[in-house]
Symmetry: C2
Subunit: 133 residues, 2 copies
DNA sequence: TCTTGACCTGGAGTTTACTCCAGGGTATAA
DNA sequence: TTATACCCTGGAGTAAACTCCAGGTCAAGA
């Protein structure tokens, strides 16, 4: 698969795909004789994984470390798991912080709705007065 | 309240508090004759609000706009509400993306646990063989 | 009076994650 | 065979949100 196809498939700019590779997130993308990338199925799975993780905000550095450990083999299983557990915990905290903010916004929005209705009523009242005077 | 007290109370660096002010998030912090900031109760409420919103990832620019509208008065109620609704929606999407990633990590972590247990068993097996030979 | 610590400003520097660009090679359709 | 579209690299540029620093003011305690 060529880079433009991967880009389209996962909706990631080609520059970003090259950047991820340079950063060490895609260590195994094969290049043909004239230097053009040819993404394998496995490369694509990694792209999809990276997209998901980046979408949740995991740092590129963390993904780089994880992926490097992955390609070191079985001896790194425990360390890889530790990374995932730690990042999972951070995501839970982030999700909860976001949820609290959503709840707070919900409340504020409902207050705004009340205020806006009230103000509209007042404006109608005023315009009636204007017409009457 | 002096800046260092606000900093301690909300766990926000003094430099960040000054930065927020410069960015327009705290338009009303009073300064005494010698130019030293004195945060009012109301300023503190804004600091707390900003901390919550920034913690969920709302951009400084958006907060700046919201706060500017707030100080313009009642005529901006609808516009302010629209900002909150729009940001709320983005947070919901973000929360859901994070939740999906958490779920995915949970699955991966459970797979890792299985693999690690399996590998430990094999290692014990090998060491038994070693002892026997 | 002197020193210490907290405060001030304007502006430069840092970090993260892209994003863009110049300059150049390659393949393929007309 | 020539134009067009796509690919490459290395490196510079950008955006957001801080974070740090130099150089200076000011109040209070020894």
């Amino acid at each position: 698969m060529k880079i433009s196809e991967v880009s389209k498939k996962y909706d990631i700019p080609v520059d970003t795909l090259r950047y991820y590779e340079k950063a060490g997130l895609l260590p195994n993308v094969h290049k043909n004789a004239s230097g053009i990338r040819d993404y394998s199925e496995s490369d694509c799975s990694w792209v999809e994984f990276i997209k998901c993780m980046r979408g949740a905000g995991l740092p590129v550095e963390v993904l780089k470390k994880y992926i490097a450990l992955f390609f070191e083999g079985e001896s790194t299983l425990a360390e890889r798991k530790a990374i995932l557990v730690s990042e999972r915990q951070k995501l839970v905290e982030k999700r909860d912080a976001i949820q609290e903010t959503i709840d707070r916004l919900d409340y504020k929005i409902s207050v705004y709705e009340d205020k806006i209705v009230k103000r509209e009523k007042e404006l109608i009242g005023n315009s009636k007065n204007e017409n009457a005077s």
